[in-house]
């Protein structure tokens, strides 16, 4: 299965690209010009922090051999620092590492423009340890959900999107609204970045979904057969669900607000990808189009609700990832077909309510689990080191306050260099010319 191995190397790099720069660009373009660097940094920093935590105890806690607490998580110390993990498994470890990274990075969109980098760095290891690794174990690592429910989650509707969506909503609530929310204009400052980000996410998502294949054959030939048919289904479903979601989002906002927008297209792409993530191996072509269309329309509607609840989920992590994740996870209960790789019939294919019950159960457990633990972490940070930058810094722009930089120098009127430059490094073209 050297073909499979080569593909997994590529898939892992593709998923890494989803966070840096895909998600960073997607989010960065949607923030204001004074906070784009901080927004992008939250993704980049999540990559580094979560990645290192992952090889230390993340892999062990998610996929380690020793399931503890009735299958809620695996012992984080069994394979600590990848002890006793064979080199041949390293690409698999890295593939899963990139999933943990992007899930944590997704949360940053809900709390844009106002969080101290140091608090984010403290939050990341706590959150993946208490929320991501346990859910990954429960759903994929042989833990509680996989042993008690026949729920399908091909690439992370529960583990990634419901998980990040709930966490984003909880943190937005605990951390509070940005200064001037609903009063000052907070429109996206550069939608071309967002369009590029959405495109890169889509491209990278083939690694995410198609790379999530689990070979179950007893022989090499059986595995080859499975690999060369199942990847076609997941690739196609990922593609057409995303297309349907983009069109549905555009149609929805055309009706609700009068225009089909570029931000709507970018958002629809992500909503569709989110919803097809758990379901790409469960449904046929019609099911994929249906899931995409429902997700696009539902998320386009849902992103407006934050204004009604006065919740500053700044870049709609709840509206896109929680709603899209729930749509994709629960619709499996209706649209799943035994003709797809998952092999389970949903309500519309004569399977009755069984699948629907298992899907709703997995979604519900994920929501409760991450809701409880994110609340605990969020409050602990709030009442110790605190989450927010000073109000003045937030108003003036978090980029300068936290990083000492500004993203754009469009007029070039920044003034002279104050740092003295060593004389040896000063080259005068006039004197060189004279010497020549």
């Amino acid at each position: 299965m050297d073909g499979y191995y080569a593909w997994m190397i590529v898939a892992t790099a593709l998923v890494l690209m989803m966070t840096t720069p895909g998600l960073a660009l997607f989010y960065g373009g949607m923030t204001r010009a004074k906070s784009v660097l901080n927004m992008m940094m939250m993704s980049y920093v999540a990559m580094a922090v979560v990645g290192i935590v992952y090889v230390l105890w993340g892999w062990s806690e998610s996929f380690g051999p020793k399931s503890v607490a009735g299958g809620l998580f695996a012992d984080p110390f069994t394979l600590f620092g990848l002890k006793d993990v064979a080199w041949g498994s390293y690409v698999g470890v890295c593939f899963q590492l990139t999933f943990a990274v992007i899930t944590a990075a997704l949360i940053s969109g809900a709390i844009a423009d106002r969080v101290k980098l140091s608090s984010w760095v403290v939050f990341l290891p706590l959150w993946v340890t208490l929320c991501y690794f346990p859910l990954a174990h429960m759903v994929w690592g042989g833990g509680w959900i996989s042993t008690h429910l026949a729920a399908q989650d091909y690439a992370g509707g529960t583990v990634v999107h419901i998980n990040a969506g709930v966490a984003g909503g909880v943190l937005a609530l605990i951390i509070g609204r940005r200064v001037g929310f609903m009063r000052d204009p907070m429109k996206p400052h550069n939608l071309t970045l967002t369009m590029i980000g959405a495109g890169l996410l889509w491209f990278g998502w083939y690694g995410f979904n198609v790379g999530s294949i689990v070979l179950t054959g007893k022989t090499d030939a059986a595995n080859t057969q499975q690999f060369m048919s199942e990847t076609g289904v997941t690739f196609l479903n990922t593609t057409i669900a995303t297309m349907a979601a983009m069109l549905a989002w555009l149609a929805m906002e055309r009706v609700m607000h009068g225009k089909a927008t570029s931000l709507g297209a970018a958002s629809g792409i992500v909503a569709g990808l989110v919803a097809i993530t758990p379901s790409c191996g469960a449904v046929n072509v019609v099911g994929a189009i249906g899931i995409g269309a429902v997700a696009g329309a539902a998320c386009a509607y849902a992103v407006g609700l934050k204004f009604r609840f006065n919740l500053d989920d700044s870049l709609d992590v709840v509206g896109v990832h929680l709603v899209g994740g729930v749509v994709g996870t629960v619709l499996i209960g209706f649209l799943s077909t035994s003709a797809a790789p998952g092999g389970i019939d949903g309500l519309f294919y004569g399977g009755g309510l069984t699948s629907l019950g298992h899907q709703a159960g997995a979604a519900g457990i994920s929501i409760v689990w991450t809701g409880v633990f994110t609340t605990l972490i969020g409050l602990a940070i709030k009442y110790t080191i605190g989450w927010r930058v000073a109000e003045d810094d937030e108003v003036d722009g978090i980029d300068f306050a936290e990083h000492g930089e500004s993203a754009y120098d469009l007029d070039g009127r920044s003034g002279g260099v104050r740092t003295p430059v060593p004389a040896a490094h000063v080259k005068s073209p006039v004197s060189e010319g004279a010497m020549a």
């Binding site: 429109k187 607000h257 407006g304 709609d316």
Partner: protein
Amino acid sequence: MKLVTAVIKPHKWEEVREALETFGVTGMTVSEVSGYGRQKGHTEVYRGAEYDIALVPKIRIEIVADDGDTDDIVGIIQKTAQTGRIGDGKVWVMPVETVVRVRTGDRDTAAL
């Protein structure tokens, strides 16, 4: 001497500049500005959130000219910048007391 200031639509700027250059205006100061008049702003919608954009981008041209040229310059700007729709802008003229050319120290008309 007079200071002619004009605020015009950005896409008309190149046309206005050419017309003024043909007439013989040798220099001017140009800035990108924003403001509003009767044109008002507009509304933009992002993921369903509406934003009132009060300010409209414009180009501001400033020319210091001899008294005798002022009416022609105002006329040229008015004709070339015109589209006939709301938002074409304004031109106004103010008296100028003194002008100095920084390089030579020339004063007033010699400095133009």
